[in-house]
Structure formats: structure tokens, C-alpha cells
């Protein structure tokens, strides 16, 4: 008999109870943060807000926002809210923009995170006896460790595959009868194609469901993955700053992701003014973590643009739902699951002796992201042989890979050949189709 919920009481709590619980936890959490996190205390003091001003979620808007740069400035321990000896784990962002963000976890925090992932697995139809193939990367990246822990909590047999080595992935999937696949959607699509190449039909693999996240994907891509793997494909969301995947997850309805509101408060704000917007508005998603001990972030700006909905869900969960991120309020790109900022590319170019005249072109071909950077040459960087130009391109690819963690294709081009709009070079051309408003809740 499959489970319906991992933690039924929490997941189906009536709204008034959720809000009461959130209020109680928020008051305590603000006190904890104010007492132990010096940079956030400074921010509160600057605004003249004291912990005693926060009586419940109705006062949340009084608190200052946190941004990624706040966290980076305090690398590595500025936001650590407990003595380090209380912590049992760190995870980290890819650090692609310079300094990494290190997230600390106490055992309580790890448990909480893994429970969130367990909820996602159960919502995708997982139960004891299932075999969970975790093909997210393991290590500092939260994808592998998060779902691994969630799978343990549900009692599934866990295959800690990590990413890559497709032959071995398929061998273990087939030989051990993996029923749930957890990885990035692009890797899921790739596995689907690889199975087909090996003559394994969708109904011949043992999978029944997949939990995919860590990069943007479309409804079309979901359909393609479901077809090629013969499964139901579920979305999962999270970020290292809020613990990792599992902050929100899809249920059988596949209509947006339920946010684990007993642990997190979600707000939608106007990215320009910071004003809190009513439910149903499109804006920037902001998270407050209510239970985290070691790395408790209040009002953390994700920069992801989405919409929240309290519309009743047939699965019985009362948690608010969020759309897939529809874009970013900054210029960050997510390419093959890696965060890329144009400013990083600029840094590499300047370091390598190029003028910052470039264009990033991202597309999705056969469900995989393509990543090209056009760079204009000048008299200094132009060599008069083909080998000198291709050699320079190779050197730039290596430098970009060192900075970004993924290797783009670099093309040196003639000066002034990059498309300009009103005199300003167009820095990013993202040809991937992201979700549109109309795909939300069947509107």
C-alpha cells in the first residue's frame, strides 16, 4: 500500500494552524538570529527593528532582506548561528561568482532537510521497498546528499550513483530494479535517449517516477521525459542557502510545487521596491527558514521569479504551491544546472587581455543546454594565423571552465560584430523556452 504522505499531520495542516505554527517559530527564530548572527543583527539595528517587534508572521515584512552578496561577504562563517562544534555537515554553492556560500548544518538541520526530501519522494509515489537511483552529483552540491538522505528516511534502497557514467547508470537501473530516478531533468532526458539507443523500450525499464530539479525545465521537456522513460516526472525545488532540494516539491497533480510551510515562509516581493505582493502575483520568491539552527536565513531573496497559489490541491496537502521559476530578477543564467553570471565571463575576459565585448548564447538542443560565448577581438588579441586564433579560443575555454565549472564553446569574432541594441551590446541571448504564466495551474 503506497504512502500518501511522509508526515501527514504537517503536510495536511489547516491554514490557520500553519500560520499559528509559523508565527510561533518565527518569533523564536528571529531571537535566535539576532542573538547569534552579527551581520543580520547589524541589518536589524540599522532598520531599528528589535526581536520584540516581531510578534508573528504579520510582522515579517519589518525584517530586512538578505541577498547572496550578504552571505558571500561573510564567507565562511559570518552567518553561522551556533558554535561550529554543534555542526555535523557543510554543503556549498558552486562558488561560480567568486566566493562560495558555505551552508552549515547541525544534525537537526540535516534531519529536517532529509525529511523534506522524503516528503518529495513519497509525493512522487515512493515508499519502503522502492529503489531510489540518485544520479545527482554528490559532494558539496546539495542534490545528491539531499535526495540520498530523503531516500533513507522513506526506507527505500538507495543507489548513490552520483552523476555521469551512463553505462553504469543503466546497468544498475536495470540490474537492481530502480523505481525512482533523481537527477537533473537534462540528465533524465539524456538517460532516456541512451536507453533508446541500447534498444531498451520505455516499458522495459523498471522506473515508475522521477524527481528532477536544480535547473529550469519546461512542461514540454516533462512530457518528453515521461514518454522516453515511461514514468511520471516530478519537479523539486530548493537552494543551498535554504538547505537544498526539498524546500518545495510536486505531488501527483504535477501542478506546481508545495512549499514545506512548517519549515519555511515564502513571500513574493516586487524585486524593484521590495514590497510584498499578494498571493497570485508574479514576483521574486523570498524564503525565511523557521527551523534551521546552524544557518537560519531570514527573508532570503532567491532572485527566482514565480507565482504562489493557495488554490486547494486534490492531493490533500495544504501547503502553498509555487510555479517553476519563470526567470530571474538578476542576470543569472542556469546552464546545465550551473549558475552563471555574465559578470564572471567579463572577469575572465579582462584577465585574459580582452575587452569585455562579448555575447552569451544559450539554447537547448535535444534537451541539453548549449553554451556559446562570442568574444570580439581587437588588434592586440588578433593573430594572423588560424592556429593562433583557435589556440586563443582554447585558452579562453580553459579559463572559463576554471571560473564557471562548465566549459562553454568560445568563438572569437570580428570587432563590432556582436548585435547591439540602442548602442548597448546584447550580453545574453537565451533561446531556451522557459515556462510561461499560462502554464500555471492550467490557466
Amino acid at each position: 500500500m503506497p504512502l500518501k504522505y511522509f508526515q501527514e499531520k504537517a503536510e495536511t495542516m489547516p491554514l490557520e494552524e500553519i500560520q499559528k505554527l509559523q508565527s510561533e517559530k518565527l518569533v523564536k527564530q528571529v531571537r535566535h538570529v539576532y542573538d547569534h548572527v552579527e551581520p543580520y543583527r547589524r541589518k536589524m539595528d540599522e532598520l531599528g527593528v528589535k526581536p520584540e517587534d516581531i510578534h508573528g508572521i504579520e510582522d515579517l515584512h519589518k525584517l530586512p532582506f538578505l541577498s547572496k552578496s550578504d552571505l558571500r561577504d561573510e564567507y565562511p562563517r559570518g552567518f553561522l548561528a551556533v558554535p561550529q562544534e554543534e555542526c555535523v555537515r557543510i554543503q556549498s554553492t558552486s562558488g561560480t561568482t567568486g566566493r562560495r556560500v558555505v551552508a552549515f548544518y547541525t544534525q537537526h538541520d540535516v534531519d529536517l532537510w532529509e525529511e523534506c526530501c522524503a516528503r518529495a519522494i513519497v509525493a512522487a509515489g515512493g515508499t519502503k521497498g522502492d529503489v531510489c537511483q540518485i544520479s545527482y552529483g554528490y559532494g558539496l552540491f546539495t542534490g545528491g546528499p539531499g535526495l540520498n538522505g530523503g531516500s533513507h528516511k522513506v526506507g527505500c534502497l538507495t543507489l548513490p550513483m552520483s552523476s555521469g557514467n551512463t553505462d553504469r547508470q543503466i546497468q544498475f537501473m536495470m540490474d537492481l530494479g530502480a523505481t525512482i530516478l533523481c537527477c537533473t531533468p537534462s540528465y533524465a532526458a539524456y538517460l532516456g535517449e541512451s536507453l533508446k539507443e541500447r534498444g531498451i523500450a520505455p516499458e522495459e525499464n523498471p522506473l515508475k517516477a522521477g524527481i528532477f530539479g536544480a535547473e529550469p525545465w519546461t512542461e514540454e521537456m516533462r512530457q518528453a521525459i515521461q514518454k522516453s522513460l515511461g514514468i511520471k516526472a516530478y519537479d523539486i525545488y530548493g537552494l543551498t542557502e535554504t538547505s537544498g532540494p526539498g524546500v518545495s516539491f510536486e505531488c501527483q497533480e504535477q501542478q506546481g510545487m508545495h512549499i514545506n510551510e512548517d519549515h519555511f515562509i515564502a513571500e513574493i516581493i516586487d524585486p524593484e521596491t521590495g514590497e510584498v505582493l499578494p498571493e497570485g502575483s508574479k514576483g521574486e520568491l523570498v524564503f525565511t527558514s523557521l527551523d534551521k539552527e546552524a544557518f537560519p536565513l531570514l527573508r532570503y531573496r532567491t532572485r527566482d521569479i514565480c507565482i504562489l497559489s493557495r488554490k486547494k490541491c486534490s492531493c490533500g496537502r495544504t501547503f502553498i504551491r509555487m510555479t517553476k521559476p519563470m526567470g530571474r530578477s538578476d542576470d543569472m543564467l542556469i546552464i546545465r544546472g550551473v549558475n552563471v553570471f555574465p559578470s564572471q565571463i567579463e572577469t575572465v575576459l579582462l584577465k585574459e587581455g580582452y575587452a569585455p565585448n562579448y555575447q552569451i548564447v544559450v539554447d537547448r538542443v535535444n534537451n541539453n543546454d548549449t553554451f556559446d560565448i562570442l568574444v570580439e577581438m581587437d588588434d592586440e588579441t588578433f593573430g594572423d594565423t588560424v592556429s593562433s586564433i583557435t589556440g586563443r579560443e582554447k585558452a579562453l575555454v580553459a579559463a572559463m571552465r576554471a571560473m564557471l565549472g562548465i566549459g562553454p564553446a568560445v568563438h572569437l569574432v570580428a570587432p563590432h560584430s556582436i548585435q547591439r541594441s540602442e548602442g548597448k551590446a546584447v550580453r545574453v541571448v537565451d533561446k531556451r523556452k522557459l515556462v510561461t504564466d499560462s502554464q500555471w495551474l492550467g490557466k
Binding site: 581587437d378 588588434d379 588578433f382 594565423t385 586564433i389 570580428a414 560584430s417
Partner: protein, 143 residues
């Protein structure tokens, strides 16, 4: 005084070359020789022109990247086997060619090789020792 060649980076787009030709034509610049190294995405146009200074100025003015590179200009007889003779000299001296192109002059019965090697001076020395005559920028104008 050596022979100086101009190289221009050309995007592989329709009309790219014709635009460059027009820029040079408008400045009354005569092309003595040219070659194009082409790849899938771009080309490098290499030229021996009548007036380097003027050509660089007008091309840069139009936003092109232009490089002036010293090359070896070798005068050879306009007859079968003459190029082979010159190349044999370089071969014996173990000088590797990066690229080469050639042109014939209208005025005298000679052909000219434009050669790019890692060490121009050494190439000129061995060619001169074998009796070949080198040309310079100032010679180009007279051809």
C-alpha cells in the same frame, strides 16, 4: 626593410569580403596579392597592398582588426620549377612554412612568393645565399 603584409579578420558572413574590398577601393589602394585562410566560422585575409599605412588607417576606421606582419618576399623566375627551387632551399635549412602565397608582376617577367616562417631572418639568409633576391615594401609600389 622587409616586406610587410596586412592581415584582416573576416567573419564568415555573406558580403564580409566585399565590404573590405570596397573600403580599400575607396581609398585607392591597389592589391598586389592576397590569400585567405578560411575556417568554418571565420577567415583571415592576408594581403600585399600598395600602401600599408593608408590601408591600415581606412580599415581600422571601419572597425576591422588589422595586423601588419613581416613576411619574406622572394623574387623567382616566372617559369616551371622556380618555386620548387626556392622551397628546396628552405627545406634543406629545415625551415617550416606557416603559410605561403604567390603573385606575378605585370612589369617584369618574375613571380613572387610571400612566405611566413617562424624565423624570417634565417629564411632570408639561406635564400640569399642560394642566389634569390628578396623584395621589400618599397619594391611593391614599383611592380
Amino acid at each position: 626593410m622587409a616586406l610587410n603584409q596586412l592581415s584582416v579578420f573576416v567573419d564568415n558572413t555573406p558580403g564580409a569580403l566585399s565590404d573590405i574590398a570596397e573600403v580599400l577601393a575607396n581609398a585607392d589602394i591597389n592589391l598586389r596579392a592576397l590569400s585567405i585562410a578560411d575556417t568554418e566560422r571565420f577567415g583571415i585575409l592576408r594581403m600585399i597592398v600598395s600602401d600599408n599605412k593608408m590601408a591600415i588607417s581606412v580599415l581600422k576606421g571601419k572597425g576591422y582588426v588589422v595586423k601588419e606582419t613581416e613576411v619574406v618576399g622572394v623574387k623567382i623566375g616566372d617559369a616551371p620549377g622556380k618555386m620548387a627551387e626556392a622551397l628546396k632551399v628552405l627545406d634543406l635549412a629545415e625551415i617550416n612554412l606557416e603559410y605561403l602565397y604567390a603573385f606575378c608582376a605585370r612589369t617584369d617577367k618574375h613571380a613572387y612568393l610571400v612566405i611566413r616562417v617562424a624565423d624570417n631572418q634565417k629564411a632570408e639568409e639561406v635564400l640569399e645565399a642560394a642566389g634569390f633576391h628578396m623584395i621589400q615594401d618599397s619594391d611593391v609600389a614599383k611592380l
